[in-house]
Amino acid sequence: MAILEVKNLHKDFSGLKVLFGIDLRLEEGDRHAVIGPNGAGKSTLFNLITGKYVPTRGQVLFDGQDITGFPPHRVARLGLARSFQITNIFRTMTVFQNVRNAVLSRKGIRYQVFSRLSSLTWVNDEVDSILSQIGLLDRRNVAAGELAHGQQRALEIGLTLALDPKLILLDEPTAGMSSSESRDTVSLIERVTRGRTLVIVEHDMDVVFRIANRITVIYYGKVLASGPPEEIRNDQRVKDAYLGEERT
């Protein structure tokens, strides 16, 4: 059974058609990259899957359940977690508190009033283990907004990871990074998402070919091609539309 199935997805923004008829299918364990030129509709696709927007037409099935039009918090609770292209963290809270917020939510401890948060020390070990995975254990008591850019991106991924999701969606995790930062982030992603099902939106082709075992190319709101990396690399339509564009 597919873990994620997107069927004939359409999205109009007050008349402007951004997506028309996207299909996508992911099996458990897939490492799927979504690529395409700027404005192709990749982020919109993510926003439709994770509940930020409601599709104009079409269906999103997650783990056999129809989640079309579910609000973000319900999608997240089902085990579908995402990161953001523009860093989206709790800037005034410490790094530790950031990750703890995610862990608490996953455990369903959101409205509990029978104990003080500081007395729930058993949560801390789990938070610290995630912090050490993303390499931020020594920064745990720093306000998240004061971290260096690369560290903020790592925390961004850490928040997603802390939900222990069945499916992870990463929206341009290396956006705005130098090539060395980008390399670090790719190895971080490979390390922490091992064995997990993953969808990644990415511009950097090196990153895509290193992480993904399937690639879907979106071009002006439609799927242009979908298949294993080698097939995509040699697809003439993709070369013309996207890869070719970069060479000229």
Partner: protein, 323 residues
Amino acid sequence: MSRSIFLRGVLLAGVALLLLAAPRVLSIVQTRMLTEIAYFALFAVSYNFLFGWAGLLSFGHAAYFGLGAYVTAISLKHVAGLHLLAGMGLGGLAAALGGAVIGFFCVRRKGSYFALLTLAFNQFLWAIAWKWREVTGGDDGIGRIIPRKPVDMGFFYLDLTKIPNKYYFTMAVVVIFLAIGWYLLRTPFGNTIQVVKVNEERAAFLGYNVNRSKLLIFTLAAFYAGIAGSLFALFQDFVATSAIGLGMSTEVLFMAFLGGTGSYFGPMLGAAIFVYFTDWISSITEHWEFFLGVLFIILVLYFHRGFIGLIPSKVRAVFAAGE
């Protein structure tokens, strides 16, 4: 660490002693003023549940203060044999119910739309209080609310017609609710409220139901405002439309900002300064509201963190330990 716990213990004991001794040392007028400060402190803290902790700017918080005051007054007056505490409880519950219903609509809106909607609902309730004379007395209000005979409180009788007794009763209720509120904000529930304030979008994508969190804190703030309102009704022994008017909504906002919305204790300090300042300035000039306005302008321009921001951070840390 243990030193700061010790310091806090000494501090709490000192404050408790001062509050207990106050009516014996102070004049009746001063005791009245201290009582007024107590219920306004509770009201201002309830306002800050919304603004300081949840980031929700309300222009209509008197709606719930007024609901608490009116429902307590009406039920104590018209339901024969109703216990004083039951009357107060009804006031608080009515305010919480009002908060839940009004909050349901308000929390779905953001920023200025949220603020204007709270204002509109406040004005709506004010109009009801103003027009529904048979129940509320309109602008004549409702008088003679408190029981004239001592109230059986289980292990003692409380005569609320005496000012020192009013003071002790008000202070006891206020301290209990302030302590519960302080605790609640430190539970996972309190954390959820702040998570949603700091980054609503990320909170939602982590599985937090943003609207539900806002509605819960809105309802809790309304309940607290309602309890403060019922204390106000008992203290004044009179309720009129001013209790539910926009003037009251402005005053509580002023108190919270005056003291500082960044800490739990700020709004209490703000309530104290507000009551003292208005009392003092209105004894000097009848244009006291003008000077209140000037004070507010200076505050917004130069002291964003309120008066509590003027206290050295080391001293503040003793108060705020554990925050």
